[in-house]
């Protein structure tokens, strides 16, 4: 894919998002000038960029959208939900097209028809006053088409056609023969001609005064080919030709139906919310990285200088001192570099939040719910992986809030609530975590219903359910198997795939919780780590293998003489400063053979597991280190007892153990 196209795709995504935001803002406040201008600009720019490529259908649709926005801007047409719908439909389709272009480099085969359909639907909004529309086709310009169709000897064939036609009006410049143009030759290369009409631009002069080298022709023709193929023929004379896609309506057919048939209907794949996207980074952050690299180069040079001195036989003490300070400098730089890279990866919630108003609007439209949706804390930043990973779960939660949280308007009014259900999507930073909440003031969750459903579906036993507090019962909505898509509509709470939401959030290192008051509303809270942090781990040896244990759970290490280990039934214990601690051997936890000869003394890592202290016996202690822990992915993702992995300096993999989970 060439650079220009890649750039176009990035820009298109942004412009599409901008246009969407603006249109939604306009729907809320039709009189707002800023979003009007901004939407117009976004669509105008997008149309302009599209023109650089061979994506004519997209250009046609966007051009129509631009005209409509222009008319709205000049108050020649009025803004209502219908107008916004058709503009959003155009933007939606453009987004799908851009996604298709991203994948295949071209528009899908059915795009020509879709482009015409969108353009017609947009232009139909302008019908009230078509003559004034800025770029709309002046009706007079196409007056010739109908008579030409009528008189054409192929008209009978035409009636049977279901394809749109391209109307060509070509008025060659008077001096075109001198520049080597032959309009008839161009006409000859128009694909799929269906009609031709030749006429003179100006009245012919008397026969004796005719200048054979001055072109006085006007060519009008119709082609059944796609607009871009026709356009290609006239690419060198764009100023002399006007091309218009026209809907060729056969008798008795609604215009909308005309374009329905034909075309290889390859559906565009879903745009996929979380596809790989380019990361746009604030230039200042890149500058900081560049500065740090500069400092790194200096630190490296200092090392080279030291090496030289070493060669020259300088005293070891001096060199050692130099090495230590050089190492310290590099360590500091690495830490700063890491921070800077993490910064680059930080992105604001805005990048996903801005996509939700449309989703909520759609869901509300489908379910005929009146929703007042607002977003707070868009500027809160978190790691790219965290932010992007939140898109699906949040979409789910918002749809649930619309579908199950929001009550019908009359019930709300009876309950003394405002007619529109308020749904708030909120992000805020809590220390090194980010909290994202979806809150509604809808009907809330009835714990009794949850208990009944949980019992019916065998999510929990009757006794367990009886023992549960209401809050615990409501938490069951996250339990696997609690809800199924088909049954959830009858439930007064929320439903589909809440277990999926919880597991998605847990995969990101977060957790999900719910608060709900019957009749008052529901809030689902997701708490997530702000970033993929450096984890301090302690490496321990077992046989020849190294394993990592997160240092935050380690209290101390101890040497326990073998004779101080007390057998307690099947288990073992030892006494540490007058406390008896259970002793677990890591080899047992990992189901590996114990060393053949019991050592004289045990090396024990004392850890806090839950509220208890536990001693973990290992074969040896190795160094402590800061590692960038990667969560287990793929088929290893479900492996119990392993928190993640990290790469060691020698290229080997260090597995980081989740001791509490191993102990179970």
């Amino acid at each position: 894919m060439d650079d220009l196209l890649q750039h176009f795709i990035v820009e298109a995504h942004e412009l599409i998002q901008q246009a969407t935001d603006d249109l939604l803002a306009l729907e809320r406040d039709p009189k707002a000038a800023a979003p009007m201008d901004s939407a117009f600009r976004a669509v105008h720019t997008l149309k302009g960029s599209v023109g650089l490529f061979d994506f004519a259908p997209m250009g046609i649709a966007l051009h129509a959208a631009e005209d409509l926005l222009g008319a709205l801007k000049e108050k020649r047409a009025s803004i209502d939900a219908h107008v916004i719908d058709s503009l959003l439909a155009c933007i939606d389709q453009t987004e799908r097209w851009v996604a298709a272009i991203e994948q295949t480099g071209q528009l899908p085969p059915d795009s020509a028809e879709e482009g015409y359909r969108l353009a017609r639907s947009l232009r139909s909004q302008l019908d009230e006053d078509p003559a004034q529309a800025a770029d709309a086709v002046p009706q007079a310009d196409l007056d010739w088409v109908e008579p030409l169709l009528a008189q054409n000897r192929n008209a009978s064939n035409l009636k049977a056609r279901n394809a749109p036609l391209v109307a060509i009006r070509y008025t060659p410049r008077a001096d075109c023969f001198f520049t080597g143009d032959d309009p008839i030759a161009l006409l000859r290369s128009v694909p799929d001609l269906v009609a031709i009409q030749l006429s003179n631009r100006d009245p012919w002069p008397p026969a004796a005064e005719i200048d054979p080298f001055s072109c006085n022709m006007r060519i009008e023709a119709l082609s059944g080919a796609e607009l871009d193929r026709v356009k290609a023929v006239f690419r060198f004379v764009p100023d002399q030709v006007t091309l218009h896609a026209i809907a060729h309506t056969a008798e008795g057919q609604a215009p909308g139906a005309v374009l329905g048939g034909g075309g290889a209907g390859i559906a565009v794949g879903a745009t996929g919310g979380a596809g790989a996207r380019t990361l746009r980074v604030d230039a200042a952050r890149i500058d900081r990285l560049a500065d740090l690299i500069g400092e790194m180069v200096i630190a490296k040079n200092a090392l080279a200088h030291l090496a030289e001195q070493f060669d020259e036989g300088l005293d070891r003490k001096h060199v050692a001192q130099g090495l230590v300070s050089s190492q310290a400098a590099i360590e500091r730089l690495v830490a700063e570099l890491h921070g800077a890279v993490m910064d680059v990866r930080m992105m604001p919630m805005r990048d996903i939040f801005r996509r939700f108003p449309r989703a909520v609007r759609e869901a509300a439209g489908q379910l005929s719910k009146a929703i007042d949706f607002s977003v707070e804390g868009e500027e809160v930043e978190a790691d790219k992986a965290v932010v992007e990973g939140l898109f699906e779960p949040l979409l789910h939660l918002l749809r649930n809030a619309v579908g199950h949280g929001a009550e019908p308007e009359h019930l709300r009014l009876e309950a003394g609530k405002p007619a529109k259900t308020r749904i708030v999507l909120r992000a805020r930073r809590d220390g090194d975590r980010v909290t994202v909440e979806v809150e509604d003031d809808g009907r809330g969750i009835d714990p009794a219903t949850i208990r009944r459903v949980a019992r019916e579906r065998g999510v929990a036993s009757a006794e367990a359910l009886d023992r549960m507090s209401d809050a615990e019962a409501i938490d069951l909505i996250f339990a696997p198997g609690f809800s199924t898509a088909s049954e959830v509509t009858g439930l007064s709470g929320r439903g589909v795939g809440m277990d999926a939401v919880r597991s998605a959030v847990e995969r990101l290192g977060g957790h999900a919780s719910v608060r709900s008051l019957q009749g008052r509303g529901t809030a689902i809270r997701l708490s997530l780590p702000l970033t993929v942090v450096m984890t301090k781990v302690m490496a321990v040896r077992l046989g020849r293998e190294l394993y990592g244990i997160p240092l935050d759970g380690v209290l101390e290490t101890a040497l326990v003489p073998a004779h101080r280990v007390l057998p307690v039934r099947d288990a073992e214990a030892f006494v540490l400063r007058d406390r008896t601690l259970p002793l677990v051997r890591l080899a047992d936890l990992l189901e590996m053979p114990r060393p053949p000869e019991p050592p004289q003394s045990l090396k024990v890592v004392v850890m806090a597991v839950g509220d208890e202290l536990v001693g973990i016996a290992v074969d040896g202690f190795a160094e402590r280190m800061d590692v960038l822990m990667r969560p287990m992915g793929g088929i290893l993702a479900g492996m119990p007892g392993i928190m993640g992995t990290t790469l060691l300096g020698d290229g080997s993999v260090l597995m980081i153990l989740d001791i509490p989970e191993l102990i179970g």
Binding site: Q151, R153, P172, C176, F177, D181, D182, P183, I184, A185, L187, R188, L193, I196, Q197, L198, S199, N200, P203, W204, P205, P206, A207, A208, I210, P212, F213, C215, N216, M217
Partner: protein, 89 residues
């Protein structure tokens, strides 16, 4: 030679280029009763077509070239005479 006079008939033969427009115009201006024969024409440059449009000579013969036969000849024949200023000439 693409433009050739044979009695009262102007024959257009082979690909007629922009430079054929002037001889054709002279021939038709000299005698407005001449007929143009398209049988052997393979292409008519727009300048040539324009001369035929302006002077509206009688056309005979079916061009061997499909594009001329199907599109240009009918378009020349179908032109609405009232639109051309020829009658005044």
């Amino acid at each position: 030679m693409s433009v050739r006079l044979e009695g009262d008939i102007v024959l257009l033969e082979g690909p007629c280029r922009v430079e054929d427009a002037e001889p054709l115009l002279r021939l038709l201006q000299a005698d407005r009763g001449r007929t143009v024969d398209l049988t052997g024409a393979e292409h008519l440059h727009a300048a040539v077509v324009q001369v035929l449009m302006a002077l509206r000579p009688a056309i005979r013969g079916t061009a061997g070239d499909a594009f001329l036969r199907d599109w240009i000849a009918p378009a020349l024949a179908g032109e609405n005479p009232s639109e051309s200023g020829l009658q005044d000439a």
